[in-house]
Symmetry: C2
Subunit: 229 residues, 2 copies
């Protein structure tokens, strides 16, 4: 049954940039397209928005349908509306993004997807449509975000060392950090609780374990830090 | 001529939250709707996106058509997609926002608008549709923005006093700031150049004039400040 309107309408889609942290590197969730255009190419999971759902709901549904991934909190990133961004039609896409712990999310290819997998976020295969541009904006947003919100609660084990925390920041920022400076800044945030526990069975000096002060972490998440005037 | 599609499509609109700084207060640009729904109500300027334009282009066109305002750099804010947000139809709206110097922009009611005007941003009249929600998110974004980007270049006169700069921040943040603390933080940004000029004809102690170091300001605008790790 066709749908008729007085004025032309763009189609509306969502795209999902899901970053996965795996203790080593920052990964990116991609699906391999099973249909044209760009059949066989890798792309961000996504699809058309239904009439009864918000773009957030559509993004979560598509993630589950295409990659078997659920329980992800997606934030809206940006809406891409260049008239020629999709060869099929005039399609406007609302992109969403998330940073998750990779081991929490097993992926399985489903609808319209030939295959699905995690790729290096900073060195992915060539992407379909304008997805390289969407990825680039999501990557920038993630990098910026750790400068005004704490990160790590959902990504690190409950007990972690400062080395682990620094490594998380280095992976997200994509560059090495000065150890002393990093520790000073992190301690000044007041979100860490030192535990009376130390690493065991390590060849280097056993590092102390920390956990996040949940209340202070959530408070800082809301309030943000940065230029406090 | 009707337009026919295989699947239903939401209509796509833009809405514009334009904040104006007038040395005294933060104002908001509103238009009075000339047509139903919400005929006679005040609303954010906006309208339908054409097939050959991006949402940014559409937002600028609507601002000009409805309020006679041009030459505004709009940033994308958020896309609102609640299925029932508009009583006419399923309409998804991409909101944009800007902060301008009020005296630079004379406004005149045009297409579809009965009237147009600047209202107190924190105490506007009741707004049509979900525009109060859009405004609230834009207000939050603006408040957050001054904590990680410099503000003032386009809003203050070329030469300004620290009192004027502080007042701008107070207006945007919606609260009073401690004078000593503010000056310390602002100086630490390194974007101010002290001039060898002082206020004249004032009853209080003549304040020194400053200007922005344009290069450093632009650099900081790009780089952001905040939690620098």
């Amino acid at each position: 049954m066709p749908y008729t309107y007085e004025y032309p309408r763009p189609a509306l889609t969502v795209d999902c940039v899901v970053f996965g942290f795996d203790d080593e590197a920052l990964k990116l969730l991609l699906i391999q397209r099973g249909i044209d255009p760009y059949k066989g190419s890798w792309a961000l999971p996504g699809g058309f928005v239904r009439m009864d759902e918000t773009t957030e709901t559509a993004a979560m549904r598509e993630l589950e349908e295409e990659a078997g991934v659920s329980d992800i909190y997606l934030e809206q990133l940006y809406t891409f509306s260049e008239p020629n961004r999709d060869p099929r039609d005039r399609i406007v896409s609302v992109a969403h993004y998330a940073l998750v712990k990779l081991s929490d999310h097993r992926v399985t290819a489903a609808t319209d997807a030939e295959d699905v997998g995690w790729f290096p976020a900073d060195d992915p295969p060539p992407l379909a449509f304008d997805h390289a541009k969407i990825l680039s904006i999501a990557r920038d947003r993630l990098r910026a975000k750790v400068r005004y919100q704490p990160v790590g609660f959902e990504l690190l084990p409950t007990k972690f060392t400062l080395r682990q925390l620094q490594h998380l920041y280095e992976v997200v920022l994509g560059r090495e950090l000065d150890k002393r400076n990093f520790r000073k800044k992190v301690h000044s945030l007041g979100i860490l609780k030192a535990l009376d526990e130390y690493e065991t069975g390590v060849s280097h000096r056993a590092a102390q374990f920390f956990k996040f002060d949940r209340a202070k972490y959530r408070q800082l998440e809301k309030k943000g830090f940065n230029f406090e005037i």
